[in-house]
Subunit: 380 residues, 2 copies
């Protein structure tokens, strides 16, 4: 197996060794987790609740909470048989892909997206990624004809990140319904990377998973890293039909045995206080989005961008960029600003950079100032 | 992929739904984690240290501590390039095996051992387990001739659990040296499952990893679940040569991104207070071992056993047992006692049951009483 670390990770490794660096690279929320979560986790620690393994699928108490939460959101999943608590979205995604893929199988991915990580995981299963480039000029929409052409008898899964990292765009209801119909007809698993589904600046998002007729084809990957600022805790969950979950469970067992129990308690607390916490987080992200948009507008001679509908990323196109990885490395060395090269997000990402605004105001202002200086002074 | 949960896990799932059950099944320490660990973890939580991702290989501060600890134990590993902090031993083992195996490769496993888990992981990599049964009558020693015969041109790795789960036996120095020489000559990776290396009732254990000439062939899997009672925290580490660690790291990234950061702080604390904590834990386990041995002696008409040199398991042979899984399921239903069927540990395990004594005195006394009643009354 010859896997490699993504450019996001490489950037972070270099960045952390540079004093005075500002990072708008890895999607780490700048805010700490909510005080109520800490308080309740500390209670659990002091009450001897977190030292022992939980069941492989997660503590029953937590799965019941998740099942109730999903019900309120319009989705029905049985706590005992249709939910697995995982050690973060990546673990959930890997367990899911390893459970359904055989060597040589194909997985469809819409690009640009969280590409290099998806590709590395698919490679682990000795399967192949098939790209469907999104159409930039129409706001990263899906070319349905192209999509259909890329489906083959080897297609086993489609990964859909919605809202999409890094473009911040949303797929339209019609696009999602067509994907759903096709998946159902051809027995393809839809893996919904719903890591950012709480980070939305539009009022409504169409959730394919609410549609019962597609339930047997859908595994959702839900993380608590971004909306609850719990990235270090490695916690998330998968809802899916029993037929798929029962195959994922023994793989999840090989990957981590069970999700860290202390983090399971953090998730219980996050779910209990969800509306308040997400409200506060979104207030901050909304403000940061406006700030970054206004700063980027001042650079319109050098770049163009669309305002994200979800996630906490901008994905501007830099006009004169040739190689985004070179650009980002130079930017890091000369201006001590870490951002992610667009090429890391697969075909269609080259020429762009990803900027995270899940950061402090100061980091955003200083970061974009550094980018500006770099764009004004340097040839690249 | 068609993986299944081990009998250990299945037993636990059934057991947790039976009121009044006693479990001597899964290897979960009954003791809580040390108070000093909780105190230091809570400080880290309150100081905003645990919310964000660490680097993929783990926090540098922790890797430095691990490197110093290993040095004191006679092993030299570079903190930046030769150590990965993992989300428990299973994650470390899976990352290691996926990084070195190609489809069709072979992995040698000495049985009985932690077999069903090893086999499921090897299956994930589309590779095959090759068994080498240990010789029960000579205290589970290794038949070196048989071992050599089982090595083929497809052998890529040998997994060695020492002290061995479930037999509690130790490989002799000569056996380990011969394995080391062979691995070196044939370019085979030795994966040392050192989960129990702190739980020893003999004064000295021969650690192959102290021998520099084998360093390039060895990856050690070190867990903090058993000796530090941190099983729920999912934390451990791998020391290995840069050549192997650099391949393991991107797979580890696919499996969990990074080990849970809150648990990384638990590990820092555990390492800083290691001698005191392990001393206390071992005092308890030593006492429990004597207790269980004396209770099992009273059942000598029904079973035979050897006293473990390490781990917290007894692995008695039940004279009249035909199918250990049936035996254990009946024992669970009729006497509400959960133990693990020997068949779960691979060839040579059938006819035995595994009893964990990392439990409270009361559980051990009551548990063995239930076993006794079952043996006296039932035909099986």
């Amino acid at each position: 197996m010859d896997n490699t670390l993504s450019a996001i990770k490489k950037m972070e490794i270099i960045a952390r060794e540079i004093p005075g660096v500002i990072s708008l690279a890895q999607g780490i929320p700048c805010v700490p987790s909510d005080r109520i979560i800490r308080k309740e986790v500390i209670m659990a620690i002091n009450n001897n609740k977190v030292d022992k393994y939980s069941l492989t699928a997660g503590a029953m108490e937590l799965r019941n909470l998740i099942s109730e939460k999903l019900k309120k959101e319009g989705m029905e999943y049985d706590a005992a048989r249709e939910i697995v608590v995982v050690a973060g979205a990546i673990e959930g995604l890997t367990a899911t892909l390893l459970s359904i893929l055989s060597p040589g199988d194909e997985v469809i991915v819409f690009t640009p997206t969280y590409y290099s990580n998806y590709r590395e995981i698919v490679k682990l299963a000795h399967a192949n990624v098939v790209d469907v480039p999104l159409v930039e000029k129409s706001g990263w929409s899906l070319d349905l004809n192209l999509f259909k052409k890329r489906i083959s008898r080897l297609t086993r899964a489609i990964i859909i990140c919605n809202p999409n990292n890094p473009t911040g765009s949303l797929l339209r209801k019609e696009e999602l319904l067509e994907i759903g119909e096709l998946a159902k007809k051809r027995n393809i698993v839809l893996i919904l990377d719903d890591v950012y589904y709480n980070i939305l600046y539009e009022k409504n998002i169409f959730l394919l998973a609410r549609n019962k007729q597609f339930k047997n084809n859908i595994v959702r990957i839900v993380s608590f890293s971004k909306d609850f600022a719990l990235s270090g805790w490695r916690i998330g969950f998968l809802p899916g039909p029993e037929k798929l979950i029962s195959k994922i469970l023994p793989i999840h067992d090989c990957l981590v045995n069970c999700a860290p129990v202390v983090s399971q308690y953090a998730m219980m607390s996050a779910i209990r206080h969800e509306s308040k916490i997400v409200f506060n987080t979104m207030k901050k992200y909304r403000k940061n989005k406006e700030l970054m948009a206004s700063l980027l507008k001042q650079l319109s001679g050098f770049l163009s961008f669309t305002v994200p509908k979800g996630t906490y990323y901008f994905f501007p196109k830099i006009f004169k960029i040739k190689n985004s990885e070179d650009f980002c490395l130079k930017l890091l060395r000369k201006k001590k600003l870490a951002v992610v090269p667009g090429s890391d997000f697969g075909p269609g990402g080259e020429g762009h950079i990803r900027l995270c605004f899940g950061k402090s105001e100061k980091e955003i202002v200083d970061g974009i100032r550094r980018l500006k200086q770099f764009l004004f002074i340097n040839k690249f």
